[in-house]
């Protein structure tokens, strides 16, 4: 695994994977979106509003998945000091925040016709909102320092502390009585959803994951180039004013 932590190797490898991954995301969305939004049958109770679910559920999965990924990258960053883990964590936090926001917003749009209210302070909704705040805190903290390495380390510790929220998000519907329905798709046993709905949902989920992977790669590459640009600029400034400052910022 460690050999892939080399930024150069990552750049060449991701350059090769990226077109395929982006293409896969486009194809999956091209199949999944019309299927979910037009072809799939309306629900006998919810009517057409059930289609919001195809946008909402994968976004919620991604919101939790992104945070788990963020925590794993943070652990890698703190344990092995891989710069690539820092770059990737910095890259995926805003993506995760967007998916979390999408899950909250689409849930509110669905909740208004179904529950009669945009928002309830119940355990699932509140814990996802807190997840959103953790993303915001992570984004703000990782960009709050002159020295990017310092920001990355601090944000990594924060991400690991925030992991306590993940089980609460996952099992909140089982622990507390909640308006939000419990998970109806499990890998074990038969899912509680009809295949007509399940298959487009799974295609949408796959599309979301492909989109996430493509965006994460693009953003991580950008972070690597940004860091290189920063080093170049700093050395140029240093060359122009050789006697000016005693030090250059650490981590450059």
């Amino acid at each position: 695994m460690h050999q892939y932590a080399n930024p150069n190797r990552f750049l060449t490898l991701s350059d090769r994977i990226l077109p395929w991954l982006s293409g896969l995301a486009v194809v999956l969305f091209a199949i999944g979106l019309p299927w979910a939004l037009v072809v799939a049958p309306p629900d006998y109770q919810q009517g057409e509003t059930v289609r919001i679910m195809y946008v909402h559920v994968p976004a919620a999965w991604l919101a939790v998945f992104c945070y788990a990924g963020l925590a794993a990258l943070s652990a890698a960053s703190l344990i092995w000091r891989h710069v690539l883990a820092d770059f990737a964590a910095r890259a995926i936090a805003p993506i995760g925040a967007c998916f979390t926001f999408l899950a909250l917003a689409s849930g509110a749009l669905w909740g208004k016709p179904m529950w009669g209210t945009w928002w309830v302070w119940d355990a699932r909704l509140t814990s996802v909102l807190i997840l959103f705040f953790f993303y915001l805190g992570h984004i703000a903290l990782s960009r709050a320092f002159e020295d990017p390495t310092r920001g990355a380390r601090a944000a990594a510790i924060l991400a690991l502390v925030g992991v306590v929220n993940l089980p609460i998000v996952k099992w909140s519907v089982d622990w507390w009585s909640s308006l939000h329905q419990p998970a109806s798709i499990s890998r074990f046993g038969t899912p509680a959803i009809h295949p007509d709905i399940l298959i487009p949902l799974l295609i949408m989920a796959a599309a979301y994951f492909a989109l996430f992977a493509a965006l994460a790669l693009i953003r991580t590459r950008t972070e690597i180039w940004r860091q290189r640009l920063r080093v170049l600029r700093l050395t140029r400034i240093e060359r122009q004013q050789p006697l000016a400052g005693p030090s250059r910022p650490a981590g450059a």
């Binding site: 705040f133 805190g137 703000a140 320092f145 601090a154 510790i157 502390v161």
Partner: protein, 221 residues
């Protein structure tokens, strides 16, 4: 152990001599609580109902005020480097500093809270419950806050950032703290809430001390 108590004593002395940090924090707490009757109206029924929440939210915000200074001065004057080199694990150093922080920011709130409770039309019988819940909950606020304070050392706009990081983590303390007072007000048993508050304190202590110490090591690099 002597080093531990020396750090506690030093922090208390410093916060006392630097413009009475304890007084400012508790004064903020009182003013913030007193804003609510102006904002929501002074009907006794409304105040009694939202009183526990008001007191807890204001305690959270008051705790934030003192946190920014928790490691800031040591970071700036180089004292932190000495603490990093001290003949004691950094986790215990953080524990000592949290204890001092709680003694000068949490304890004064415990003392004034019953009076504010009376002003918010809470029943006299519920006041011991209020103090008990605060006594178990405010140490957790200091512990969680230490993580945020250590993470934001040397950050730009550290104060606002600290609030953004710390407040979401403090929500469970708020939920069960206010729940305990609510139970006391309705003459229900509050043992469960107090037990959860204690569990939070015991569970948070190692996690927060580890995270704060790790963050301090990063800051000291």
């Amino acid at each position: 152990m002597r080093l531990f108590w020396n750090i506690v004593k030093r922090d208390l002395r410093l916060s006392w001599r630097q413009g009475g940090g304890a007084v400012v924090g508790v004064a903020f707490f009182m003013i913030a609580v007193c804003l609510f009757p102006f904002g929501v109206g002074s009907q006794a029924a409304i105040l009694a109902q939202i009183g526990p929440g008001i007191i807890w939210v204001c305690a959270l915000l008051a705790a934030l005020l003192s946190l920014e200074q928790l490691f800031q001065d040591d970071f700036q004057d180089g004292g932190l480097d000495l603490l990093l080199l001290a003949d004691m694990s950094l986790e215990r150093v953080v524990f000592a500093k949290c204890l001092a922080n709680w003694l000068f920011s949490g304890v004064p709130i415990l003392i004034v809270a019953p009076f504010l409770g009376i002003m918010l039309q809470m029943e006299m019988d519920a006041l011991p419950g209020l103090v008990a819940a605060l006594a178990l909950g405010t140490p957790s606020l200091s512990l969680i806050g230490a993580v945020g304070a250590a993470l934001t050392l040397g950050a730009r706009r550290g104060g606002a950032l600290l609030a953004l990081l710390v407040l979401p983590l403090q929500i469970p303390v708020l939920v069960f703290g206010a729940g305990a007072v609510e139970a006391a007000l309705n003459a229900q048993p509050m043992g469960v809430h107090l037990a959860v508050l204690t569990a939070l304190l015991v569970g948070l202590a190692p996690l927060c001390l580890w995270a704060s110490a790790a963050a301090l090591r990063v800051a000291g690099e």
